[in-house]
Symmetry: C2
Subunit: 739 residues, 2 copies
């Protein structure tokens, strides 16, 4: 119906807009102009060593893509570009057909009468937008809708993508075709009957229009016919619809809405198809949340952060998604499939699409719809003061409307958010910032049924900590969380080094060990981000053990801290349910291989041990221990609170938790707790186990919670055991030479 | 140009919409149908005794107004109704011309060809909207845009107004007339050049259009001519414009934008005129506000609440306005003038138009523009859960658009707010409530230059306390404020009784003393609102003295508590500048005579002593004392911190504060403090004075701060002096019989 014709693209680099490129290189579309350049010139991988530095000058170039229009069948010819990064002009020959700023607004350009077969199409891309010449950091992105991460971040090198980052093709549309087509629905509180509404318009001549709705199993649920011209609106009720659920609460059922233009003989002239997932989303108050504040003068109650899907409160367990490639043009369904399989296996039900990274391609959201993974989608604002500036607001208006229109049909998208940490001191935007007022207005106008947050964190929500141990404060993140009372934990994590395999790939052999500031270890975020010791945190490793003697030891100890730390934080957030309602780990993935990072997955998709540990902490039902600290002394009275955690929607009789300690090759039974009924979506606090740690010859022990009645719910914690000589100040830090 | 013809209205009451009224009574327009009814039937004043109870049944009636169309000159005839309360149908004969729900959307109905001279116009008003039959309280208003206060409040009897509450007339428009006309401006940060833009459209034939802008002194600043048809847009720059300032910071300069349609000979066919006050308004962060939160997990910083006018931070001192009549139809320019003169004399620079009451008539905002009194305007939502309901949202959309369009030109209006206390437990709306998302979207779309708050209090802002002493907590409001750290105090107050004169007017002689629950004292809010003892607070009076022995003693003591309490709270809020930025007293006025109320003014406009006291606390510069408590013991070491407070925009050398105590007929010098420079808009904390209170025969003393260098800045505080026998529990409450 809408035959697609791919184009043979070439790309050239030039210093001024109107100067022709000196040479034309083969271009991959989707892709990035810089990658074509690097490939042509035989540059090494941008993700190895510090080769990314070679790209430094490229961001200030113009790039022009060109492609010749082939001979095409009869019909109206459209150029479709799903995404061009970032500001660009489209020409046919020397005639300007389109100008645009913004990578999230697709181009759909009717070439009929504007360009003919044999002519060349040109897409000229401007240098990366920068609001100022220096400093060369994220603040340069503060007047544009270009995602800020590629200007340099604590896990991302300075490397700003440019180019045709999503599919581009020519499309020939027949004598009749749809010019608009969208299916919407409403679902009342009782979830009994979904009212579907299709609205659209068609151009050209046809005999009739047929709209059909199919159940997830393909059964026809509704069919409507109409005359196929002008603005058309059709509706149909679906009774007792199969609902879309996140994967840990049911089946993510997807219906199909298909509309067709038919000729007199019933042949299909054009068709549009959408998938529909029926569900109701709300953010609601947690039990007791209205009781605070209690005292005069009274402020407001914290805003609601408990996600309710189809009337059911769901504890959110997930991670922050950062784009898994520096160049979003490299992303495709396969990349997403690999990552999302890890997410689902780790029992996570939500990804927060962090505003520093670009919104992803359609394949991502389609997969989330299919896999039942919920999506918290942010607009491209992060850690900057985006101004009350007419030119900026015009682009933001266009880009946000495009994103809302594109993502609105996806049932997986459950939440809009203005961007990352905008109400904090390092961003300095406020509720009065026009950019956020604009986003709130557009979301209300175009998508009122989906909740909207101006930013994260909002009042009551917590971000951080990002260390296993805060060396300045002299305390572990576990302790910080255990005295916190956030309504949701939307960023937190512990850094861990990449595996030896990854480190050997990116670091030249001569720099590999010991890691030192400067050089490749620093270029890949091992030192000097935030703090001198981030993200390798050699000082933290040395605090618990000593300076690592080998790469193997460094990786093993750093990864243990990340795994045990992240697991403990997620479980603590869950123990605070229902007052707390979200545990969203920072971060899932990374855009290139960092030597150390809070990410659970190394680039491109190599899980660290922390993924399994955090995944275990996300199991719907598990035995859990609240442990005060990681490092214990021989002679200390070890203690831990024993809990059952249940985020599932069914209650059960979980049976016994057998609490054991394994140390120095022996396992000792400490306690057996027979819990009563574990109600649906409820936790159960059990006994506190106490045991004086003996003087034995070993440096760690394991707390084991066996669950003979529910084998999949057992847990295990590795803890350090040290000689009893340390003073009261467990926070003392050994001196390390990081310079 | 637009001759107005008043109509002779009659009104009738009927039980069903289509039944004709049994009788037609003379109607006053603007007014209220119930008042016409009461007048006709010789009912006593609704504000005396409990006569309001007679109105109980009226709220469920239909009321139809009728008026005969007189013979009119040639031209298009319009019926203009500025406000009809609440749901209504307009007919000519039996033809329905207009149907509407909402009292804030004016009617402008072209009758040409629809109704002729001699015919009757009918406006049929529906029974008061109620979402449920019981309880008969404010919750019945939760599905409508009818302000909730008249459904019964802690200072308002149950009495729901209905009728033509604003002007209504016939207007004849000539062969050419404006169909739209609005002047807008932008003013850049440097305030140097205002860019004015007039946009409008005209119907009919004319030769030309003339737009002129006049300075406050009448001088012509700009003149533009255009062809007078279709959509027209004109612009003009005004360099170095006189700015609009609140009265305590400058002159509220008002320019005039006048546009005219002219015939060939230059005669004016139609004209529209607006006043323009050039100013920039922002809500900005207080110094240090970004420093918090400091610890992980980090939440957001509090939203900004410091008002900046023309680049200058202004400490807001003001009061909450509640409608000064139960029937808004009774309000007119004279009512407003009398009230606003009190406001300005009390050095207040802002009124918060509390969302429980209706937005006021144009005359109110015109006067505020002229007087330099800023207005915080709320939409008609208060203390209810307004639903995510399509029918309600449709009316709210219409009503909010009408309010924004009407009030947008007023320079005095500095802030939009969604409504009162909506994010608190007694309202249970949230940031996700569609009503508030709608209001935010409409304010952004129609009036982005004016700040918007979803409700008050927002995070960091405080409401309350509403008692001199909280008998349950056993502490005084002073102490509560002194340990608070709100960004703004937007409601707080102390109740005080009305004067004897007022009490004698409303309470029958036989009930006058002693006051007892039930009867008229309770009907007029002396008992049983919030708490058994509100608002008379006999228990608080008895705590400090004893049960009052006469009406005179009751009034004197209650009014002393209100005056000293309110003054102390305002001064404390000011001492917390710049962290705190607003002191908005609850409440300025009242809609009928309460026997006791937090209001500073008794109905209709009789100031209580607290008005002068709070007004003194609002002087731009004053000597101030932070005093820990109201009641002291002989032998106590009295102490007070001495301060200079300056909210003005000029610094000064204030000279000495002479601190004295007057007690038992003697005045003793305690301290003389010579302050240094008192900078603009800054406070200066001085010494703490300490003095052991002697065993003398008197029950009170006065702390006097004389300011010989600045005589208008002196202050004086009355405090109680008691024998030293009281135990450590100063909070002990004497038992009182309130039943």
């Amino acid at each position: 119906m809408r035959p697609r014709f791919s184009l043979e693209w070439q790309v050239g680099r030039h210093a001024r807009q109107d100067d022709p490129p000196a040479e034309w290189l083969a271009a991959r579309v989707p892709g990035a102009a810089q990658l074509d350049w690097a490939r042509h010139h035989g540059w090494p991988h941008h993700w190895q060593a510090d080769h990314f530095r070679a790209y430094d000058g490229l961001e200030d170039s113009f790039w022009t893509y060109r492609a010749r229009i082939p001979a095409l069948p009869e019909g109206r010819v459209f150029l479709i570009c799903r995404g061009v990064d970032y500001r660009f002009v489209i020409r046919a020959g020397d005639r300007i057909l389109h100008e645009q700023e913004g990578m999230f607004t697709p181009v759909e350009l009717d070439l009929t009468g504007q360009a003919v077969a044999g002519e060349e199409l040109f897409v000229t891309i401007f240098p990366a937008p920068k609001s100022r010449a220096v400093p060369a950091d994220r603040s340069q992105a503060d007047h544009s809708c270009k995602p800020a991460v590629s200007y340099g971040w604590d896990f991302h090198p300075r490397l700003i993508s440019q180019g045709l980052w999503d599919d581009a093709w020519l499309e020939v549309r027949g004598r009749a075709h749809f010019t608009r087509s969208a299916t919407d629905y409403s679902l009342p509180t009782d979830l009994q009957t979904a009212r579907l509404e299709w609205k659209g318009a068609a151009a050209g001549e046809c005999a009739s229009l047929r709209w059909r709705v199919f159940a997830p199993d393909g059964a026809l649920l509704a069919e409507r016919m109409a005359a196929g011209s002008g603005n058309i609106s059709l509706s149909a009720d679906v009774r007792n619809p199969a609902l879309w659920w996140p994967h840990d609460h049911g089946t993510p059922a997807l219906h199909v809405s298909r509309v067709e233009l038919l000729d007199e003989g019933g042949a299909v002239l054009d068709a549009r198809e959408e998938r529909i997932g029926f569900r109701r989303i709300r953010l609601v108050m947690a039990p007791g949340q209205w009781d605070s504040p209690a005292a005069f003068p009274k402020s407001r109650s914290h805003p609601p952060m408990t996600l309710e899907v189809n009337g059911r409160r769901i504890f959110v367990k997930g991670a922050n998604w950062v784009s898994p490639e520096i160049f979003p043009g490299l992303l495709n369904r396969e990349t997403y499939q690999e990552q999302l399989a890890q997410v689902r296996a780790a029992h996570m039900n939500l990804l927060r699409m962090w505003g520093g990274s670009p919104a992803q391609k359609e394949a991502f959201y389609n997969l989330c719809d299919e896999l039942g993974i919920m999506v918290w989608q942010e607009f491209p604002l992060a850690c900057n003061t985006y101004p009350d500036d007419a030119a900026y607001l015009r682009v933001l208006d266009q880009e946000s409307r495009s994103l809302i229109a594109r993502l609105r049909p996806h049932p997986s998208v459950v939440l809009w958010c203005g961007g990352n940490e905008l109400f904090n001191s390092w961003s300095r935007m406020t509720d009065q910032s026009l950019a956020l007022r604009l986003l709130a207005a557009n979301c209300y106008q175009l998508d009122p049924a989906r909740p909207f947050l101006p930013t994260s964190p909002v009042d009551g929500v917590g971000h951080g900590h990002y260390a296993f141990r805060d060396m300045d404060a002299g305390e572990e993140a576990w302790a910080v969380f255990q005295r916190s009372a956030s309504t949701a934990y939307c960023e937190f994590g512990c850094p861990g080094p990449a595996s030896e395999e990854v480190l050997r790939e990116i670091i030249p052999a001569e720099e590999l060990f010991p890691p030192r500031p400067g050089g490749i270890w620093q270029a890949h975020h091992g030192f000097g981000v935030w703090k001198p010791s981030s993200w390798l945190h050699l000082d933290v490793i040395a605090h618990y053990w000593a300076e690592p003697r080998s790469l193997e030891e460094l990786v093993a100890r750093g990864q243990l801290l990340q795994a045990e730390g992240g697991k403990g934080l997620v479980e603590e957030a869950r123990r605070q349910k229902p007052a707390a309602s979200m545990a969203v780990y920072w971060c899932l993935n990374e855009p290139w291989p960092a030597v150390a990072n809070n990410s659970l997955i190394s680039w491109p998709c190599r899980p660290k041990p922390a993924l399994a540990a955090v995944g275990a902490a996300c199991r719907p039902i598990l035995a859990s221990a609240r442990i005060r600290k990681f490092q214990w002394r021989k002679g200390d009275s070890f203690e831990a609170e024993i809990w059952w955690l249940n985020d599932g929607w069914e209650g059960c009789d979980p049976g016994r938790i057998e609490v054991r300690i394994a140390l120095a090759g022996e396992t000792r039974d400490l306690l057996s707790w027979k819990a009563g009924r574990l109600e649906a979506n409820c936790n159960l606090a059990g006994p506190t186990v106490r045991w004086v740690l003996p003087e034995v010859d070993c440096d760690h022990f394991e707390l084991i919670l066996d669950t003979p009645g529910l084998p999949g719910a057992a847990s295990r914690y590795t803890l350090l055991l040290r000689d009893g000589e340390a003073g009261p100040d467990e926070g003392a830090t050994p001196t390390m030479n990081l310079g």
